[in-house]
Symmetry: C2
Subunit: 175 residues, 2 copies
């Protein structure tokens, strides 16, 4: 299945000059959901992963599907102020200013083996913040996984430079 053909590219969003890669059109395709899930399942089924830390909101989609398929914990990493419990909190940079991600302090156990999932990696700010959150538990980050990598924006390289494993289903570079 040609997954890249299912991605909708929106020019000049959210601002002029940016090509926004939108997974919505892929999500409307039930066969594509099954195809992607099969790839992820085969990659991770024997890896003794305890949970999938999934970044709000689009990261929840395949994070949830794969957690259920593997029968392991779904761990929501949420935007600031959404969780009703004690949280760990990490700042990350936006173009102007900063924002924060949070995770329940009871969500992960020490030495758990955690997969971090999001739909897309660009500059890597949220991915690094999510990793910092997982590290607060003294857990292991098995790998970062994304549907889409925009390698020109350098995020996946930053993760690799921190000795993390990174896996993406699609790359969009200079197109």
């Amino acid at each position: 299945m040609d997954l890249k053909s299912l991605i909708r590219t929106v020019p000049n969003y959210p601002k002029p000059g940016i090509l926004f890669r939108d997974i919505s059109t892929l999500l409307y395709n039930g066969n594509a959901l099954k195809y992607i899930t099969e790839i992820y399942y085969n990659r991770y089924k024997d890896k003794k992963i305890n949970g999938i830390a999934s970044i709000e909101a689009r990261g929840f989609i395949f994070g949830a599907i794969l957690s259920e398929k593997l029968g392991i914990a779904f761990i929501p990493i949420r935007k600031k102020g959404k969780l009703p419990c004690k949280v760990y909190r990490e700042k990350y940079e936006l173009e102007y200013g900063t924002d924060e991600l949070e995770v329940d302090i009871t969500a992960i156990k020490k030495n758990d083996n955690i997969l971090i999932m999001d739909d897309l990696i660009a500059t890597g700010g949220t991915a690094i913040a999510a990793g910092n959150l997982v590290n607060r538990f003294d857990a292991n980050i098995y790998e970062y996984t994304f549907l889409i990598d925009l390698p020109d924006l350098g995020g996946s390289k930053k993760l690799i430079n921190k000795n993390y494993s990174v896996y993406s289903l699609m790359k969009f570079s200079g197109e």
Copy 2:
């Protein structure tokens, strides 16, 4: 499986006197993810449903799992300003003021048979707005489905009074 025992109740959140029903602790349990998915799958597998309209963000979790399992469209219903495309938009009431939900105008086809999914129904404001969005496509709402119904807050009754079918896995009432 006693699902209600897996829900964390947080007193006085988000304000004094409210008992917040938090599904996080259920999500950390991979067996519970599988158990709930089996219930939903058996309920909907033969119903010729074309897509699951899933309300951001917690509604994405089982909406995505079940869309993949059934091999049908996952349709994100998002908070205002998150979608990079032309949208239909519906207001709903908050305690103070209003907010808006949006859906891609290409997400659903006329006469599609749509399941609407969220984690919890309380007063029903977002559920009704989500239904109004689905109706903009001249699609059919097969059913509303929730993990948790808080019947004392009247939302599920409002939906039933509009002749919608409503299904919930758990009810919390006066406890």
